[in-house]
């Protein structure tokens, strides 16, 4: 039987060799069959039944894409431009001919490292032991999916703290993938929960820690960062007091100037929320948060006019420990704060004068 099969194959070879002049080339991302004239109509199994392109190694399904007959040649356009480093194999089969196979090696030029960590908020180097989050600000868009391998918290002995953060698969990026929010595990902050009772808080008062961000973290183009990042900080006592706007100091600029209105907080506040949730009613301008996030500055687009103004603060504004205006991060139901702020905003008045 094997001999008979060999003879049969040998006997067919002259016919199978008929596809010899057919070749496949790649041009502008299109795969083109040359030396073969497509029939008037598509084969019953579709063009994919005679011409397929495979990306990567091993037994994989063919690439998605579209077929067309252009200038008398069959052309395959992949659904997406090929990623760097992807090898492709194009296979053309016609009945009665040996398959024509062409392999295209991919360019392997690695993108240069350009991204870095610009800043980590909070800026201050003493944090409450119930610190709620960090914001990591990058200089360029980063890649999703490896956050929890790239961020580490080291204890005073340089040993990694076990699971200090809320490792959620979705990863809390902004739309540009330049800012990542990292929450400490709330189970180790909120009182009365097992994780806090069993393993204690992630960070302890009186000790020093280092937040470490690996250089190997890839940016959106697949390049590592130019350098890693370290933020050393000490841990102070818990902060369970809701921020009180009555303790804020407002310094008003003079009329006719575009000088900044300055609001000083008695403690560092959440950077992102301070930028977003405080505004001057009816005045367009630019806000910034400075001095270790203890100062909110607002520069108007047009010079100040004399008169009464209102600073409007959304009560969702949090301090570093997640205490909101009028409500602590975790409320003790037996010792409720007696004065409840029910509205969504609080206002602070100030006056712009000539002198």
């Amino acid at each position: 039987m094997p001999i008979a099969r060999i003879i049969l194959v040998l006997g067919l070879l002259p016919f199978l060799a008929a596809a010899q002049n057919v070749s496949i080339k790649i041009e502008d991302g299109r795969f083109q069959v040359t030396g073969w004239t497509p029939g008037a109509s598509e084969p019953s199994g579709g063009w994919g039944s005679i011409f397929s392109v495979y990306a990567g190694e091993g037994d994989l399904p063919p690439m998605l894409g579209s077929y067309a007959v252009e200038n008398g040649s069959l052309v395959f356009r992949p659904r997406f431009p090929l990623s760097p480093g992807v090898r492709t194999r194009a296979v053309f089969r016609t009945p009665g001919a040996l398959p024509v196979v062409a392999i295209f090696n991919a360019s392997t030029a690695a993108p240069a490292a350009t991204a870095r960590v610009e800043h980590v908020y909070p800026s201050v180097d003493v944090l409450p032991d119930n610190q709620l989050k960090f914001y990591l600000q990058f200089s360029a868009p980063m890649s999703r999916g490896e956050v929890w391998r790239r961020i580490h918290l080291l204890d005073p002995n340089g040993k990694g703290v076990d699971l200090p953060f809320l490792e959620i698969a979705q990863e809390l990026w902004d739309r540009d993938y330049r800012r990542l929010t990292v929450l400490f595990d709330p189970g180790r902050i909120k009182r009365g929960l097992l994780p806090l009772e069993e393993v204690g808080p992630a960070i302890e008062e009186g000790k020093s820690y280092t937040l470490v961000i690996d250089r190997e973290w890839l940016d959106a183009r697949g390049a590592p960062m130019t350098e890693g990042f370290r933020k050393a900080f000490r841990v102070g006592p818990s902060d369970r007091t809701p921020p009180d706007t009555a303790a804020w100091r407002v310094t008003a600029p003079k009329a006719g100037t575009v000088d900044a209105l300055v609001v000083k907080f008695p403690e560092s506040m959440d950077w992102a929320l301070s930028l977003r949730l405080i505004e001057v009613a009816g005045v367009a301008g630019t806000a910034s948060v400075e001095s270790n996030e203890t100062e909110w500055r607002f520069k108007p687009n047009a010079p100040w006019k004399s008169g009464e103004y209102k600073i409007v603060v959304d009560t969702a504004l949090e301090d570093l420990a997640g205490n909101r205006i009028g409500r602590a991060f975790d409320v003790d139901t037996f010792e409720r704060v007696s004065e409840k702020i029910s509205g969504k905003t609080v206002t602070l008045g100030f006056r712009i004068g000539q002198n």
């Binding site: 990567g56 993938y177 595990d185 940016d219």
Partner: protein, 366 residues
């Protein structure tokens, strides 16, 4: 009653039932209009009635309902197994497996085909796609360029301020269809708060859905409005509940009837799952007359908890040792489960992460 009369009455009843079902069917499907479904990202998936697939898009702050047109019942006893799913998808999309993220997975309860929300790429320019894996393991793209769909915007961040894009984003952590409504749990990348939102389906113009604040005092004393990480609908004796796993570890029951617009709801802690609990996905199933929760857990593997009579479970009110409330056992042989969904009465569908290779397979319910 003679047989002919009974038969006539039965036929009339059957006809009325069919009409009723058909009207509901039509209302759901006619609300979906053909055209291009714009997805900026494809995150949590959930199936509603009539093969309608809901896709959560955190980046676009929308929920899109898509007619899968996949309503042929799958054969009984079917199984699914695809090894190297991310490699196969990468090959189809002309990229490397590390550039493929499978964000969620849902089984079409009618056909049993598996739907995946996938990102091609890892950065802000990643392309959002929906793929279907059939019972033979064949992967195809669900075209979004001309599909019957309907999209509703979530009341997300305020609009861009002076040309600067607003960095606040509400990540959709989980989604489910319960009793004509899509429930959506979200987690903000700025303020720490819970949002569980419900939106009636069919979507109505300008209907942003209603949001409720849920507080829970795990051990009675301290309350937070901590975000929900994953949740599952559960019906007991005709009453709908949501069982929600919180980011700070308790498992909380909330009657759906309490989730009214603007309400402040106090959830009842029914289990405190303790340290290292990182729930990813949950399903509820019945075996031997007993209801169970199966929970995929990032650091603990897959946990099984008997849950009969959740309506009778009382709140945990005092600090207690580990495994308080519902007891659980860990299914040792199920390691690396990244996604979980119910497949049929006897099987779950799981996506395993085996050292970077994603494998999809049906697993008999334990």
């Amino acid at each position: 009653m003679n047989a002919a009369k009974f038969s006539k009455m039965f036929l009339r009843f059957a006809a009325v039932s069919c009409v009723t079902v058909a009207i509901a069917f039509c209302a759901n499907l006619t609300s979906l209009k053909p055209g291009k479904a714009e997805l900026k990202s494809a995150g949590p998936l959930a199936f509603g009635p009539d093969g309608i697939l809901f896709v959560g898009d955190s980046m676009g702050a929308t929920i899109t309902a898509i007619d899968s047109e996949d309503r042929t019942p799958g054969r009984a006893g079917a199984k699914v197994e695809v090894k190297g799913l991310n490699k196969a998808i990468a090959g189809m999309l002309g990229t490397t497996p590390d550039q493929i993220l499978v964000n969620d997975m849902a089984v079409n309860p009618i056909s049993k085909n598996v739907y995946l929300s996938v990102s091609r790429g890892r950065g802000p320019d990643a392309v959002a796609m929906i793929l279907r894996v059939d019972l033979a393991g064949k992967i195809t793209e669900v075209s979004l360029s001309n599909v019957k769909h309907s999209t509703v915007s979530l009341p997300d961040a305020p609009a861009e301020k002076e040309g600067r894009s607003n960095p606040r984003l509400e990540t959709i952590t989980d989604m489910a269809f319960v009793d004509g409504k899509v429930f959506i749990a979200g987690l903000s990348n700025e303020e720490f708060s819970s949002s569980l939102r419900s939106i009636s389906f069919p979507f109505e113009q300008a209907a942003k859905g209603s949001s409720v604040e849920i507080y829970h005092g795990s051990h009675g004393r301290f309350e937070t409005n901590s975000p929900v990480r994953t949740f599952v609908p559960y019906n007991v004796l005709g009453k709908d509940y949501i069982l929600a796993a919180y980011t700070c570890t308790p498992l909380v029951k909330i009657p759906v009837s309490d989730l009214k617009p603007g309400a402040k709801v106090k959830g009842t802690t029914i289990a405190e799952l303790g340290n290292r609990n990182r729930p990813l996905d949950m399903i509820i199933y019945k075996k031997g007359g007993q209801d169970y929760i199966l929970m995929a857990n990032q650091s603990r593997g897959v946990m099984k908890m008997p849950v009969n009579g959740v309506d009778k479970l009382t709140a945990i009110t005092a600090p207690v040792p580990d495994k308080q409330g519902l007891s659980y056992e860990t299914i040792a042989e199920l390691k690396g489960v990244a996604q979980l969904d119910k497949f049929d009465d006897g099987n779950a569908l799981m996506l395993f992460d085996d050292a970077g290779s994603l494998d999809l397979r049906t697993v008999a319910l334990p």
